[in-house]
């Protein structure tokens, strides 16, 4: 079992014309795709535009997706091609960037560029989201915090986390869910369910 299996269920629904299923896929991968596109363009708003175009292209090409590769791998290629084609159409070359560098450095440089190009309102909102999530994680009981960190930061499966934490898989599932539930509740409390409606980048 993997996230790819979950994606495949949504992809199959989207291939039958279910736009809600595709929306779930977009919500899941929008942050990753914008991060990817930021390797090629300097401007945060431009990165969002290209990410949007990439998702639209993916939606149109979805009937031809056969599931030979993971959905994100397929989407990843579409996003890179879209970014390159956009730059070529504008007579620009991709910015110099070490694609093979460590993720930490890449993320640091990209975030610095985003701060340069994002609007003050977007930066303020992003900062507020980060602070809210970080504060909510800090307030979590230790076993919940550890479980979600092992999942999100180290990418371990439930079984691996169970082995690490020496507890049943069902407990891991419950701990991760309770951690997310608490953070989600805090986000809704602070932003009144308004996340995802405005321009958020940074």
């Amino acid at each position: 079992m993997s996230a790819d299996d979950s994606d495949l269920s949504l992809v199959q629904l989207a291939q039958r014309g279910d736009s809600g299923a595709f929306d779930a896929l977009v919500r899941r991968y929008q942050h990753k795709v914008v991060k990817l596109v930021m390797r090629y363009v300097r401007d945060a708003a431009e990165a969002e535009d290209i990410a949007q175009e990439a998702f639209i292209k993916a939606y149109r090409a979805l009937p031809r997706f056969r599931g030979d590769s993971a959905f994100y791998t397929w989407l990843y290629r579409i996003a890179i091609n879209t970014a390159k084609n956009t730059l070529a159409a504008r007579g620009r070359s991709p910015i110099e960037y070490d694609l093979d560098g460590p993720d930490g450095e890449e993320s640091h440089e990209m975030q610095a560029r985003m701060k340069d190009t994002a609007t003050p309102e977007a930066l303020a909102l992003t900062e507020e989201i980060r602070n809210t999530v970080t504060a909510a994680i800090d307030r979590l009981p230790g076993d919940l915090r550890t479980a979600i960190q092992l999942r999100e930061l180290e990418g371990l499966s439930y079984e691996e986390i169970a082995a690490r934490m020496q507890c049943p898989v069902g407990t891991v599932r419950s701990r991760i869910f309770r951690a997310r539930e608490a953070i989600d509740a805090r986000l809704r409390e602070v932003f009144d369910g308004g996340l995802g409606r405005g321009e958020v980048i940074g």
Binding site: D5, A24, V33, E48, F55, R180, E181
Partner: protein
């Protein structure tokens, strides 16, 4: 199943840790429930914040709006292709032979309305300016001047055939023919001069003058008014020529 259990399933689904049988069910629920997708999106946001990734929650609403526009445009593109057949079914179609006939009927209708409009405009009395006596006097001579040339055929028991009547008309004025019962074969209205009101102004002439010389009257009305005036004046000069039969 409680709300908590459903969200627990959603969290496991997000991590790809849900059994296949449950996965299909949750995927369908997720695709239909916008609030559930909001929660799903927040799970992605939490992970992105924890990993220090870019936050771009504004992309999803824009993509959804674009897809909605695409779907609407695709729907509109499909509709015109279906339209002609549907429209043809809804529109009542005239038989081929009736198409020119309907055009002719329309033209004839317009012509009849035009003729009546011209007659009516030419026969309109002027607005009374000197009192009721003038207004009352206006109607009689106009009506009689119009019917002075109308010949009404006699009763069917007449012994004279229509051909004979036409022949007689071609030969010119003749003594008044009568049927066996003493009824005349035709009726001729009295001469215009006899019907004219002896006193008062000549309202028809006045109306014609106004119609012919008014700057605001239509050309058709002017023409009609002038023609009518000439006809009446000719009748006044030669009243004896009015009686045909």
């Amino acid at each position: 199943m409680s709300m908590n259990e459903r969200e627990s399933q959603l969290s496991a689904m997000y991590d790809g840790e849900l059994p296949t049988a449950e996965r299909e069910l949750v995927a369908r629920r997720l695709s239909r429930d916008a609030a559930m997708r909001e929660t799903w999106g927040n799970y992605a946001l939490i992970g992105a914040v924890m990993r220090g990734e870019t936050l771009a929650s504004g992309v999803a609403p824009r993509v959804a709006a674009s897809i909605a526009r695409l779907e609407t445009a695709a729907q509109l593109e499909r509709e015109p292709a279906d339209m002609p057949a549907a429209a043809a079914e809804r529109t009542p179609r005239l038989p081929r032979w009736a198409v020119p006939a309907s055009g002719f009927g329309l033209a004839a209708g317009v012509a009849v309305v035009g003729v009546f409009a011209v007659l009516w405009l030419g026969s309109q009395p002027p607005t009374p300016v000197t009192g009721a006596s003038v207004a009352g006097a206006a109607m009689v001579p106009i009506a009689k001047s119009r019917v002075a040339e109308v010949v009404i055929p006699a009763a069917p028991e007449s012994t004279v055939t229509p051909d004979e009547m036409l022949l007689a008309a071609a030969e010119g004025p003749a003594p008044r023919a009568t049927s066996s019962n003493g009824e005349p074969l035709s009726y001729v209205t009295p001469p215009v001069e006899q019907a004219r009101t002896p006193a008062g102004p000549q309202p028809f002439n006045l109306a014609s003058y106004v119609g012919a010389h008014s700057a605001v009257s239509a050309p058709m009305m002017r023409h009609s008014a002038i023609s009518a005036t000439i006809a009446v004046e000719s009748a006044a000069v030669q009243p004896e020529a009015e009686t045909v039969r």
